[in-house]
Amino acid sequence: MAEFIRFDRITKFYGPLCVVENLDLGIGKGEFVSLLGPSGSGKTTLLMMLAGFEQPTSGAILLDGTAINGVPTHKRDMGVVFQSYALFPHMSVGENIAFPLQMRGISKAEIAERVKRALDMVQLSAFADRRPSQLSGGQQQRVALARALVFEPRVVLMDEPLGALDKQLREQMQLDIRDLHRRLGLTIVFVTHDQSEALTMSDRVAVFNKGKIEQIGTPRQVYDEPATRFVAEFIGETNLVEGVVETVQGQEATVRLASGAHIVSALSGAVASGQPVYLSIRPERVDLSETRGDARNVLEMEVTDSVYQGDHLRVQLETAAHPLIAKLGRRSREFPPGTKVFAAFSAGDCRVIAP
């Protein structure tokens, strides 16, 4: 995939506060990249710099190989969708969508045609003459989407566009946007703090923390192979267990836990023997049984609590050294508190993370 957008050593200060620090990121043409992170991690600031609303303190932003630092927003040709919709309240839905086309001096007949097509695309054809205030939140966001796409911008930027919608609508819109992305071959940069949204929609996810990218990769990579403790904890739920590396063999390491047990685990980065590390084990990868079995890693534990949550059974386990949470499929048998069990998982289902 050809690189289309490049952030080259971007730093942004607000007064003495550094919100983006020496950041490098490349985005391919037609790619859907999510910037995921907690609030204040710099993801929105990066998007605002790409849109031209903010200027980087240092570093360059390249679009298709050309630096666009000094280019004002209205000449950047990027469609922006905001969480607050940001529709023009004094214009009808049709006029809102026509606005970017009027700015480009397109003929009246063609504007009418393209507005109609855009309204069809978001299934709002019957609402062209309504005011935005007469529409529901979901409808307003679809108008904003149509307005940002109708002029066929080079890049579409979305700043938590689904944050104000309720859960069901949000999940529907996630699929709608993903579908539009595939059908129209758009390049989309999508800011969100919702990890499941990022995993659902993106080709790649960049996980932000304190103005830096902790990890960038496909949804599967950031979930299954977290590179840092922050990524492991921020995306999904995980068990973090402290231990010390005993030996390293290729892509695996043997880690000794405080309880004295040994765990063989896949590596996320380079570690040396003797190094204190964390093990990240996803709860749904842990199997429980009353017999030892033949898995690579087996821990003898006691059930302290067990909660039925409809789609899964959540079991809390304890040994002298460390607690562990297991999520079992709904077909699992019950594990009442006090049961002695063996918790088993393969080497590939856990990761060694340097602290």
Binding site: F53, G79, A86, L87, F88, P89, F99, A144
Partner: protein, 260 residues
């Protein structure tokens, strides 16, 4: 129940206290008598006729309209520009600058009047329409600033950012988005500026010459010279105009509210 009655009585008395002067003067506008006093012998419109035919009164009305229009135009442009400038968050001492713009509201008009007379004399603008308009503009601008600032505060900044991203230059964003959205505030500011100019007396006394006698100024002087019911008729005009102004402001405010 007695509490309710007490509240009702108090409210009625408070309202009576506020409108009593109006009740006292307004019926006299329709008297046929030649002096401004009760009882009213019979009803007549002769004092309205006097108002529009007697030279001094006619001139005063025309002067009020000239000065009022000039003030409205100048104050609305300056006040709107000031409000736009005050939006900039990076402005140093923004709060202090805003207070400065509102100062003419609280500074005693006498003080402003003296200062204005000294200043206008230096530029040779005393006894001129321009001088009166400038003086009125000083006291009218704060009303525009308050009104427009309120309207601008209600605009979601992202709407303007969105317009930029859709290809609108800063000038286009202003004409197509910011100004239309702030327009109810601008209009109600303009109406308030006109009303301020209409009933301004103190500054007018200091800076206007005999040729710029406004309606308010004419009423002030004629009540000392001859107590003719023409004053009551003029007062009636004033009240009617003020009610119209009030209605206009209410309409603009509700337009603004509907936008949200």
């Amino acid at each position: 129940m007695p509490m309710k009655l007490a509240k009702f009585t108090f409210a009625s008395l408070a309202i009576l206290f506020l409108v009593a002067p109006l009740i006292a003067i307004l019926p006299l506008a329709f008297t046929s008598s030649v002096i401004l006093t009760y009882p009213i012998p019979s009803w007549s419109l002769r004092w309205f006729e006097e108002l529009f035919t007697a030279d001094a009164w006619r001139r005063a009305i025309i002067n009020s309209l000239i000065v009022g229009s000039g003030t409205t135009l100048l104050a609305t442009v300056l006040g709107t520009a000031a409000s736009l400038g005050l939006r900039n968050r990076l402005l140093l001492f923004r709060g202090s600058v805003r207070t400065l713009f509102l100062l003419p509201m609280v500074v005693p008009a006498v003080v402003l009047g003296v200062g204005m007379q000294v200043l206008l004399a230096r530029f040779g603008l005393t006894n001129s329409y321009a001088g009166v308009i400038i003086a009125h503009t000083v006291v009218a601008v704060p009303f525009v600033v308050v009104s427009v600032t309120g309207a601008l505060a209600g605009i979601d900044e992202r709407v303007e950012l969105a317009a930029q991203s859709l290809g609108a230059s800063p000038a286009t964003v202003f004409c197509r988005v910011t100004l239309p959205l702030a327009m109810p505030g601008v209009l109600s500011g303009a109406v308030l500026a006109f009303a301020t100019s209409l009933d301004e007396v103190v500054l007018t006394l200091f800076v206007a010459g005999p040729n710029q006698r406004t309606l308010a100024r004419q009423m002030f002087s004629s009540i000392r010279e001859n107590i003719s019911p023409a004053i009551a008729a003029a007062a009636f005009l004033f009240i009617a105009a003020t009610i119209l102004v009030g209605l206009a402001v209410m309409v603009f405010r509700s337009m603004l509210a509907k936008r949200r």
